[in-house]
Symmetry: C2
Amino acid sequence: MKIVIAGAGAMGSRFAIKLKRGGNDVTLIDGWPAHIEAIRTNGLQANLDGEEITESFPIYPQSEVTADTPADLIIVFTKAMQLDQMMQDIASLIGDQTRVLCLLNGIGHEDTIEKYVATDKIFLGNTLWTADLIGPGQVRLFGEGSVELQNIGEGKEAAAKELAEVLTASGLNASYSENIRYSIYRKACVNGTLNGLCSILDVNIAQFGNTATARQMVQTIVGEFAAVAAHESVELDVPEVVAHIEKTYDPAGIGLHYPSMYQDLINNHRKTEIDYINGAISRKGRKYNVPTPYCDFLTQLIHAKEDVLEAK
Amino acid sequence: MKIVIAGAGAMGSRFAIKLKRGGNDVTLIDGWPAHIEAIRTNGLQANLDGEEITESFPIYPQSEVTADTPADLIIVFTKAMQLDQMMQDIASLIGDQTRVLCLLNGIGHEDTIEKYVATDKIFLGNTLWTADLIGPGQVRLFGEGSVELQNIGEGKEAAAKELAEVLTASGLNASYSENIRYSIYRKACVNGTLNGLCSILDVNIAQFGNTATARQMVQTIVGEFAAVAAHESVELDVPEVVAHIEKTYDPAGIGLHYPSMYQDLINNHRKTEIDYINGAISRKGRKYNVPTPYCDFLTQLIHAKEDVLEAK
């Protein structure tokens, strides 16, 4: 299958390696010149569960994508604020049969993708795989994960299940979800706590979990997500979500991992996705008249840290 | 005048140097062995507005204070959580005529001091002087400041004014306040914003002030202080307090200074006074049924950072 990874950062690289090793024809599109140059020169270098590997890929800057055979599948893995530009840039790769799978963190990305792709070709998902970007062309991939996905077009359940099978055939452990919006909100709770809190406290997930006030902060933030989600007919089970987050603290699991926002902001001084996670809850809270002070404050703190680090 | 500085950290050292140079008999009491040892060996070394100076003082560990001539004046300058132990340890220095001046940051310390000293000998104040502790026996003192103070015992206005004159005679720019509780709340707003926010963002005051979200965070926190203070008949003028805080951002003033909490927590891995500043507002908020989510969250973040840094 001809697959395009639109956004070949840490997580895009993981999917690219798995899908190529699974026998697919994988092309990368990215916007970071040094990363593109490194992959062109040395291949994509990964530490995959302790083993140093290198995989070669065709990779193109998103500003130079030209008309080509349409892709069978495009997986978008940009940062949230880069999604719209990416969709514009890859328009020539989108044919009548091209499916687009969105695995971005955060809430409401289908509104952006629908500007460029018919609804019945769009699939939403989320993933519990993790990945660290070490530097241009270099990633570290460890631990296990999974993918959940669902069609957003009516009557496209079979297509969604087929897509899950494609991913699973390459070891990505994907399954069809009956209620992906619940899963997306639940995942957004993980990101809405660990991303911002680990970044602002300068810690990994296990260190955060070891603090005495972690539970109070997580419970309050998840409570705000749940109060907003309830206005969108998504009924989050707050104790279940909190317990789910607390499982990530285990150093034998992903506890020693630094969340993606930490990697972006603290390591690489890049702007974060906070406006599409906690910031999205703050906006929706204002819309629904639900107070979201912890999300407001965390969003402000992360933006302040972006300013301090002159994040680009 | 025989003056004891009970708590000879950065700010206590500033007052000690000024008061000794003003002709007083100044003794230091402290709880940090390395600091005591350094001052005994090398004197108290200070960079005073760019000039390197050394002053010698008698200094005693608070655990070894023995019966002595009572002091005329004791200025307590401990950390808030160390105040009760210090008052116990210096009991032998408190005579019938000994006045105690409390210049600690935070709210409600008179309740602790009244356990050891008659109310009509207690004076509350606050100061806008700043000071940095560089290491054991070494401080950096720059810029100008002032002191405000008031009696808490009835009919002791004259004694308070006399005390202000003693401090002013040594260049400490002290004045009598008609409403020290207002001043203490107003000062607590400065500490309740800059201390926690600069510590958690790892920045100095000017860097904090340069962030785009500083004003939103400061306004919200000061609003919580004001809502609580209103239940204690203190009517804070929120825009005035916010403007007062924003004046501190100027690099030509104290903008390049790191707040005391930053010095304690980030530089020296010591536990902070957050429970006596934002944490006090959270406790009072619960008592008065006033929501204080920014103070709650900031208190939790600082405690988490204490845990991460294994602050003692």
